[in-house]
Symmetry: C2
Subunit: 315 residues, 2 copies
């Protein structure tokens, strides 16, 4: 699956993933009002949740339609759907399907992680399948999932197994983009090595039997806000593809990103979520207005791609 | 909420939580067959997933009916529901509601964790609420959720805020029960301290403003399989309530558990999942047969409670 992602990035000349993180405050009011009038009845949660679930899906669909020709992939953040209960999860499920129909690779930002059979259940849920009465069923059916490494190899191996069985991939959290990520991730071990390097080397090792072209289907999450650490990790994990959140709203700029890529310009994909999907709320794009939210998202995506190309094609 | 849990443990004289982790292989076949014949149509996933979702709920309902008078709490493991997609999540949602109706405290074993607004969305999803058009909606509505600390304070604070607003609680992973948990959790820092102690002290600190009686609503997960580490953590985190998985199937026995409790016998709750819900598949309880799975679960629960009482009331 990582080979497919690399190929799609090359085709579109855009190492960019659009984060579909529909916070309530990002949804134009008219979408919620329309959904309140028209949604179908559903017995799983309040009417308001059902309407918002419907509004979230419509919001995503317009954004996906507006950016599908520009980018190789999208990354829905499941927390933003889970908060709306069953109707939210239905919006997530519909979004994944819709993105596949549009030819986009879907990175489920689920940050799951547990042990043994429980990790395997998460893996089946998101990038695998279950067999019931001899029939193969797929639950959420993303192409990649993000995974938390805190529980160690027992937690990761079941994901790797499911990746290998289904030609899917994972991105394991190594160095996250948030200000306090150093609290545990930067703690120096008695050998003077920061924890994120210990984890990074493990990620590289876990991915050895999952090579798919030049990279492994076992990738890493490294925050765009930590360029120095990324440079070091790029060397420590030569066959590990990097998913880098933190561009834009979280403060990272294109010039921070060169160290995430190899000399040939491959090796990483950069995520922007609210910088794109909520662009219409920003001064720079407010000319599009609330009803032009998808056009604003398209323009913000074009601008981000241009910005990255300046760095990647600098020489 | 932790005061309520402590009180219910005292009432029932049983620091025991039943893990509702319905792996497909634990479900009696007749339940799936019945559900295949009778389930309602649902447009969100294959027919088999819908039937299994229905079977999972019926399985849980019978077990809950059989153990509700014995224990204070249940702990559904969401991965086991997520693997069945939307129908699985509906079974999770119905299970939480049913357990509340039966007066049980529900610990959502979701091991979520992210940063900032994303962590807040997870917290709202599981132990909080969202406001839509002035109406308060609750998504999955558990009493406690388990949380992964790898992303640091940015990831935990939003959960703590939501706990405090809703009188709910969390259990943060500190030292997990699996064999490879030491890979990162036991790494010694340059000060000679294992990572799980660094995390444990943070958990204690994060919980300072969430006291509810003798304990904080911010608790910790410490595997029953690591009694020595638990003894140390019990001292480092005097106001932190411990959720301990790993009893039974994972190998911990009652005599391993005394160090998890304070001298007054409070301070921890011990989980057993497959040891109880799949008891009917074990030689010891096979006399109950497949259709007696709930009675077998009741007997296994009684046996576990007796086993723990021997330790807790030893002096």
């Amino acid at each position: 699956m990582i080979a497919k992602l690399v190929e799609k990035i090359r085709e579109k000349d855009a190492p960019v993933v659009v984060g579909l993180d529909p916070q309530l405050s990002f949804l134009p009011h008219y979408l919620i009002d329309e959904a309140m009038r028209s949604h179908e009845e559903m017995p799983y949660g309040d009417e308001e949740l059902t309407a918002v679930g419907e509004a979230v899906f419509r919001f995503n669909r317009e954004i996906v339609d507006a950016v599908a020709d520009l980018v190789p992939a999208v990354k829905p953040q499941v927390a933003m759907y889970e908060q709306f209960g069953i109707p939210g999860m239905i919006a997530y499920w519909r979004t994944v399907r819709y993105c596949h129909e549009k030819g986009l690779i879907v990175i489920g930002d689920v940050k799951r992680g547990d042990i043994g059979s429980t990790s395997e259940a998460y893996a089946r849920a998101h990038i695998g399948r279950v067999e019931i009465n001899g029939r193969t069923c797929r639950a959420f059916d993303e192409d990649f999932a993000t995974v938390n490494p805190y529980l160690g190899t027992d937690g990761i191996k079941p994901f790797v197994k499911v990746c290998n069985e289904n030609d899917r991939g994972i991105f394991v959290l190594v160095k996250t983009s948030n200000p306090s990520s150093g609290e545990f991730q930067d703690v120096l071990t008695k050998d003077g090595e920061p924890m994120y390097e210990v984890v990074g080397k493990k990620v590289s090792e876990w991915g050895e039997d999952s090579m798919d072209g030049e990279y492994s289907n076992v990738g890493a999450v490294v925050g765009a806000t930590y360029p120095e650490q990324a440079k070091r990790l790029r060397v420590l994990m030569p066959h590990t593809f990097i998913l880098a959140p933190g561009y834009g709203a979280q403060g990272a700029t294109a010039k921070d990103l060169s160290g995430f890529f190899k000399e040939d310009g491959t090796g990483a994909i950069i995520n922007s979520s609210r910088g794109i999907i909520a662009a219409y709320t920003k001064e720079k794009y407010q000319r599009f207005g609330e009803e032009g939210f998808a056009d604003a998202a398209r323009q913000a995506t074009i601008d981000m791609i241009e910005d990255l190309r300046l760095v990647l094609h600098a020489d």
